[in-house]
Symmetry: C2
Subunit: 416 residues, 2 copies
């Protein structure tokens, strides 16, 4: 496949008239005049388009897309106990299937090519994701009250460890739902199979304060005392951190999945990204679930992250566009061990965006990253994962049927 | 014209299968089976679409769309003095023309049918806006250093006071750039011609503190002491308000144009919308200029406003979707004296949005306003102002030429 005469971003600047050759699941060359050697004869016209390597959604619960708009504007505990948990108690694999497919549609439309998820019925989530063609790091959620889920963690890894799109991981929910034994088991499993660990960490003030009161240390200090923290860990949220917590996270190489919109909407707080960044921590961006966002769009997440941090610190010069763009791309590629980027040899996970839209005008060589972070609205028109075209010219085959089935599934869930 | 079988929002709920009949510049009927009596035979299929009455952008400087992405991530004073003011000093009417047209394209694409603007060369802005077909409340910016602008304020009102789309107003810039004499002149003029007043008010902490230090009162108290404040006034920003300021604004009926994204990006602060709302003040939403946003999209503004206020007060139940939706619609209709809404007799300013998109799924009768505020991304496909179709099925006639001309104009401005 050849993408012909597209623009790309290189070193923060716009580079025009680049060909991108794709051979099977990988990029075989990028540059002016590069030829396609795959022999499949497929050409995508890139003139007037920007090619970007895929965005990575570092924390979500994709099946919860089925709960979008079901309950908003509520205090956290009534929201969970009166609305979310009762629905979750009724979930079936079929709900997961259509919730995941619905979520994939939105991510394909906003240039997300890989997502990191922790939830229920993850074999079904994996199958649905593969049918949609996206890449995902998936873990079944683990907590003490569900020994059956803990028992299935290792078989789940074995079932998916050699897949081309699905990367299995281990997902202990949080320190307040998992005992030391569960956490240790999760860690052992991750080390044994060399897979990642996905955990919620220090999301709300009350959670951190009550943990400290009972245990005499912060959740981060506690996990560190178990030898749990390393660059194998993706820690979602990290909103309430002491200076000591920040140092530990940076020193251990923990990957932070920052979820700005969810943290704002649930009023959890504003994460100390400035201290994390200064300490050298790796920060990625996640949407969280659509029940607390209510979008799955990293363009929104980039803009909100940048402007919220500027405002929180009264410093408009902090968190410049380029730094936030890296969070959604390169930082996540490193965190999730993805061989990605617009270069020969990388996996062919990328999108094309139409530059002939008002929000990209005026265009200069040095404002493309600003436009991506502050004014692009995520309207991607072509998305490719592993060399397979998932959306072309704004059309995703089968989208209408998925929307109808997801709607029916939601109606069915409510009536159950 | 007849819009057939569209859905609408009524009392916060989704109402399906509604016809909307438009006769000339006004809506002649809304309801199931309503017929078109205009005789023009024009039909727009509304099935699967949501019709919304137009959003109103309560504060912007539209020509500054030409500066989008030109300078970001800078401290306020260097941003103004090194970047924005030098460009503004070189502006010509031709720059205004193409900046305004570019801004209109983005607003048409996001369902904004009317905007409130204060800037330079406003006759040119008015002509460009009329060519694009949008409605606007326009005022030339007034400040002491430019007596020529002050002299032209009344002639500008006379030139435009009988226009069908342009509503002239008076635009004293702010209390720190306008003397008492200038402010009084602006007030007299507004009262004489019964037009609105558009002013920046208490945007930054340093501006309010230095005013208080020199004058012994807040900018709000000062304006009130001049008899300046009434429901004729649209006050942009209102970020740094004392409890006394909040009472004055509410008691005088001043219309607040809240600009959440701009206030965040420039790190100005978070406006006390909770206190303003409790005091009964009328709050509208503005994008500010694209040089400090960098979008002209009220869907983004609604989401950011809601989630930022929730987070600032640690109260996820505050600023529910319906309240924020009213800020972008009904509050602004009252503020700007616009006879708008989806009902017989109202001016025909409305948009159609495609409901068959992932971000509107699942759809229930009672989650449509949540979807509009929290998950819709502003991708409107048809926009109508005063009964004239400005965009149909995503196509705005002449868009590509405007994008090219705006780009050339920006290049020319930089080279000047």
């Amino acid at each position: 496949m050849l993408i012909r005469n597209a623009s790309i971003v290189a070193g923060g600047r716009l580079l025009r008239d680049q060909n991108i050759a794709i051979d099977g699941p990988r990029i075989s060359g990028v540059g002016p005049g590069i030829a396609d050697e795959s022999g499949d004869g497929e050409v995508i016209e890139g003139r007037g388009k920007l090619a970007i390597s895929g965005l990575v959604n570092a924390h979500t619960h994709l099946a919860m897309t089925l709960f979008r708009g079901y309950a908003d504007d509520m205090e956290l505990m009534p929201w969970l106990s009166e609305k979310i948990w009762p629905l979750e108690a009724k979930l079936t694999a079929e709900d997961i299937r259509w919730g995941v497919k619905l979520g994939c549609l939105e991510m394909i439309r906003s240039g997300i090519t890989c997502y990191n998820d922790m939830y229920y019925f993850m074999d079904e989530a994996a199958r649905a994701t593969k049918e949609m063609g996206l890449r995902a790091v998936l873990s079944g959620v683990l907590f003490d009250m569900r020994p059956d889920l803990i028992e299935d963690a290792e078989p789940f890894i074995r079932r998916w460890k050699n897949d081309d799109l699905i990367v299995p991981a281990v997902g202990p929910h949080a320190v307040y739902t998992c005992s030391e034994e569960t956490l240790s088991r999760a860690l052992d499993l991750a080390e044994k199979h060399d897979v990642m660990i996905h955990i919620h960490l220090s999301e709300t003030r009350s959670e951190v304060e009550s943990f400290a009161k009972n245990r005499g240390k912060s959740p981060v200090e506690y996990l560190d005392s178990l030898g749990f923290l390393s660059d194998r860990v993706v820690a979602a949220h990290c909103v309430w951190l002491s200076p000591q917590d920040v140092s530990i996270i940076a020193d251990r190489g923990v990957n932070v999945a920052h979820c700005s919109i969810s943290n704002h909407k649930l009023a959890s707080g504003i994460a100390p990204l400035d201290r994390l960044a200064r300490a050298g921590a790796r920060i990625c961006l996640g949407t969280d679930g659509a029940s607390s966002n209510n979008s799955l769009n990293l363009f929104q997440e980039m803009k909100t992250t940048a402007i919220a941090q500027k405002c929180a610190h009264s410093r408009p010069d902090l968190f410049a566009a380029g730094e936030v763009w890296r969070m959604a791309t390169e930082n996540a590629y490193t965190a999730f061990r993805l061989d990605m980027g617009l270069r020969a040899g990388a996996i062919a996970d990328l999108s094309l965006i139409d530059l002939k839209k008002p929000w990209f005008c005026p265009l200069a060589d040095d404002n493309i990253v600003s436009h991506l972070v502050y004014s692009a609205q995520g309207g991607v028109e072509t998305t490719i994962v592993g060399g397979r075209v998932l959306m072309r010219g704004g059309v995703i085959p089968g989208e209408e049927e998925i929307l109808e089935r997801a709607q029916e599934q939601f109606n069915d869930l409510l009536a159950r």
